[in-house]
Symmetry: C2
Subunit: 204 residues, 2 copies
């Protein structure tokens, strides 16, 4: 059985939980206390030398890291991977955009606000990170202005990758009111059959 | 004909030039002065709303962004994409690692040292970025200790993605002496037939 090493509050982990729910795949699930070093123990570093969750253990004992690579692995051969060479490259374009231009700003702002003390010196990073987060969401808004989903006419791994932290942007101190296309897209993603919220404990 | 919008000094652009050289594909090439806003003009933002090079214009006029997504597009159907579902996911794992845990530290340190004035306040970022860059290279060292390439037994897009900034790590102020497996791998990558240096002007 697949085994997902994760943390319930992680948007990167939620991407995988969301796709596994859509696919109806059973899996074992471990909730790691990453805020107290659980992803940096020798035992976990043997699974993922980069010390990050989510990490997926496959049936044969292979460990796969990087949330968007895990999404790709699980989606191969399913409708969640776009058909065609261009569609697949466009999905990856948005997934790399997510990890480079979105997650470091939206997810990190959320982390600072939710998991660091109010007097943390890292609060000083917030204005710049929040501004860049809004810039990323503005790029999404432009793309979604006349499209239902990021690639093609249906939900794909690109949408799941971008939904994970966008839908909790308020927890990063970001106001999505000026982005009606993004808000409409979030409603479409959340209304799909099989959708689960980030707070749902797998198997719980 | 393919048209690559690029900057000669960019490692992200070099990834694409390197794969196109290996594949023997002809392409038009534009060297944008990104240090003076050439990727933020209205004309360029119409090609890539995220305002970044490299951006590849396909034969049909479609624009594709994100260096590693472009690599994937070009490599489909060639030996540079690993065979098999797991191999493809492992290649993506290393490509997402590159964009999240390597490029923001190695490439950004190199940018600060090469393209900002010596009295730039951004110099203050160097110690932290260089330390994280070395951490990424240590993860690579561990993986390459008993493997010739990142995935399987031959050069793939994962190697090209990681080679681009690792081989100029000295320009980021990073000393690779303590990483013999990484240095051996760089020699293997550079000795492949079809290899071109980052300084080679396409068509020049």
């Amino acid at each position: 059985m697949l085994h997902l090493y994760d943390n319930l509050d992680s948007g990167n982990g939620y991407k995988i939980r969301l796709l596994l729910a859509h696919l109806g795949l059973p899996y074992a699930w471990s909730d790691l206390d990453i805020f107290h070093g659980a992803s940096r123990t020798p035992e976990f570093l043997a699974k993922n030398p980069n010390g990050r969750i989510p990490t997926l253990e496959l049936e044969d004992g292979t460990f796969l890291a990087e949330s968007n690579a895990i999404l790709w692995y699980l989606a191969e051969g399913t409708p969640f991977l776009p058909d065609g060479r261009l569609g697949r490259a466009q999905a990856l374009q948005w997934m790399f955009f997510e990890q480079y231009s979105h997650e470091p700003y939206v997810a990190t702002s959320r982390f600072i606000l939710r998991h660091l003390p109010a007097n943390s010196p890292r609060r000083a990073e917030l204005p710049d990170r929040q501004e860049r987060g809004l810039q990323a969401i503005a790029v999404m808004e432009k793309h979604l202005a006349w499209r239902p989903y990021f690639v093609g006419e249906r939900l794909s791994v690109a949408d799941l990758a971008l939904y994970a932290y966008t839908h909790v942007a308020d927890q990063a101190g970001l106001d999505l009111t000026p982005f009606p296309a993004v808000r409409g897209w979030m409603t479409r993603v959340a209304s799909q059959p099989g959708h689960v919220p980030i707070t749902a404990v797998p198997g719980g």
